[in-house]
Symmetry: C2
Subunit: 334 residues, 2 copies
């Protein structure tokens, strides 16, 4: 890929085409916004997934459909929007079987039901290449209430939902690198990789609490870097505060991948990352209790730029890469 | 492709997932509809294009981008909507060059400007397969004014905009089958194939005049069949009334493709097909004059079902196929 990474490409070639609509947010946020009915606003996002790049070609077809759905619902949730509609374009290899199609549609149906979403359009074509999917998701929220990446301010606490790193370790398990782990831990991590849990209840509940938010899809450190870039601030994360599942802790203990660095920079968590003034911490803790969902403060927004990870002694933790870049690496399932 | 064609697949597997939203129109129309601001409604559509299937891999990149845009704007126009926003997902082969990307973006920019559309989101990823594009387009129209496929009634006149068959003959020219034609005619047809002219002014102007409408993307006869299916009526077209460009007439005269049948059933015209009560014919003729765009009555809606094409003597014209089916044929550029 010439001219740098995905983000550089978007900024150089495509962001100028967004300039005429403020709600496009310069193509730097999880969603774009446009006018809805009765004081509401629509949030819209689109993501593509390619077999062999974003998932394994032999993954269960129902899980492929559900992951496609969920990575997009995660973007809506990150802005505080409630998902309503999806449009899907599917490019099927010509040898796709009836059984595969039925299972794919069953997965889509399950998630349409689970998330109260209607499929309202799309396109089905064939391709001589790998299975290629694209989904556009539309969600609603009160006008002006979207939780943008650009509103993080120095002094805010940085929070994450759920546990971090499971998706990245799950990918390693899928690649056969989980031998040091128990079967139960492997199963947990694999499930977290294949079937993300978009925080569709948390996102709307964060309106009025979180100042800035995004979903963690390309890795915590890299994604937090996007909030910092959009807000023109820096961030400091305390590695010791990172919420880890038992399975991810076991993976780190066995030295899987890059250990803690994999949890910090690996993709596919689909948890929410948000910032809030410290005086709202009690309300956020109460929200966590109400939702039965772990919400953990992991650091703070500081003046400056970029993301620094510190260990228990306050020393910087060196990281090889900030996050997954779709163009910097060879194609891989992530 | 098992289980019949694209339309059978959508009806069986995906239409049930649309049932919870009336505005999805059962996935049988060009667009879906949902609520907008201040008495407006949004129309949304998504189409995918794959190199080697929907266009030639070595087509000029600016024209690929513009065709992607225009096939979607054509769907919006068919419902009477005014285009506002697009989201694009692009799966680039990894060997894409800077020059190619720049030309692709330039084409997209030209059409964003020409059609007053903002790019508000999307995704860029790499693929080991062919260049694969998907675009979602959003347009606005007054609530309740969409021109649906389901409102054709017996006695309506059937109209088409522009000229029919140029896209299909243009594809044959692109495949090197245009030797019998003058260079000028080849150029006209090739341009019509590569750079459709979505009827973005006509569509909104047809609100209140046309009863049913759609855009002709898969071939006149097949697409009219969709209007008939949705409206539970039949249709009769007079072949002699088909508006042909000089270039298409020359192509038919040289026996290119299947001759007249290619014009009747070939894809890629991106003209509008609509029905209207006969008493509105004068107003439609006046609209044609005002827009400087040919609008031609080619037949009438009748009781029954299906599409019949008759010659000057009133005899049925036999046609091998109704329209292009993305799953019935080998992959081909169309």
């Amino acid at each position: 890929m010439p001219n740098g990474d995905e983000f550089g490409l978007i900024a150089r070639l495509f962001a100028p085409l967004a300039a005429s609509h403020d709600g496009a947010l310069g193509l730097t946020d999880d969603c774009a916004l446009f006018a809805g009915a009765d004081g509401a606003q629509w949030a819209v996002t689109a993501d593509a997934m390619v077999a062999g790049v974003h998932f394994f070609p032999d993954d269960p077809p129902d899980l492929i459909a559900r992951k496609l759905m969920r990575v997009n619902l995660s973007d809506l949730a990150a802005k505080g929007a409630v998902a309503r509609f999806v449009l899907m374009t599917v490019c099927f290899p010509r040898d796709v079987t009836t059984d595969w199609l039925d299972r794919f549609a069953a997965g889509l149906k399950a998630d349409c039901r689970e998330f109260s979403v209607a499929l309202i359009g799309g396109d089905t074509v064939t391709t001589p290449g790998p299975l290629t999917l694209s989904l556009t998701a539309l969600g609603e929220l009160p006008a002006g209430s979207a939780i943008l990446r650009s509103n993080a301010r120095s002094g805010h606490r940085i929070w994450v939902s759920g546990t971090i790193g499971d998706g990245a370790f799950g990918l390693l398990v899928a690649k056969g690198e989980g031998q040091g782990l128990s079967q139960a831990h492997q199963a947990v991590l694999l499930d977290r990789y294949r079937l993300p849990q978009p925080r569709t209840l948390l996102g709307p509940a964060l309106r009025g609490l979180a100042a800035a938010a995004m979903d963690i899809s390309d890795g915590l450190v890299g994604d937090l870097g996007h909030i910092c870039d959009c807000s023109q601030v820096g961030a400091e994360i305390e590695a010791v505060k990172l919420p880890l599942s038992d399975a991810a802790a076991a993976a780190i203990a066995t030295g899987m991948g890059q250990g803690l660095a994999t949890a910090l920079t690996g993709g596919d968590d689909y948890e929410l990352l948000f910032t809030a003034p410290p005086e709202l911490s009690d309300k956020i803790a109460a929200l966590a209790f109400g939702l039965g969902l772990r919400l953990t403060p992991i650091g703070r927004i500081i003046p400056g730029h970029g993301v620094r990870v510190i260990d228990a002694e306050g020393r910087s933790v060196a990281l090889a890469q900030g996050g997954y870049n779709h163009f910097a690496a060879e194609p891989k399932a992530t």
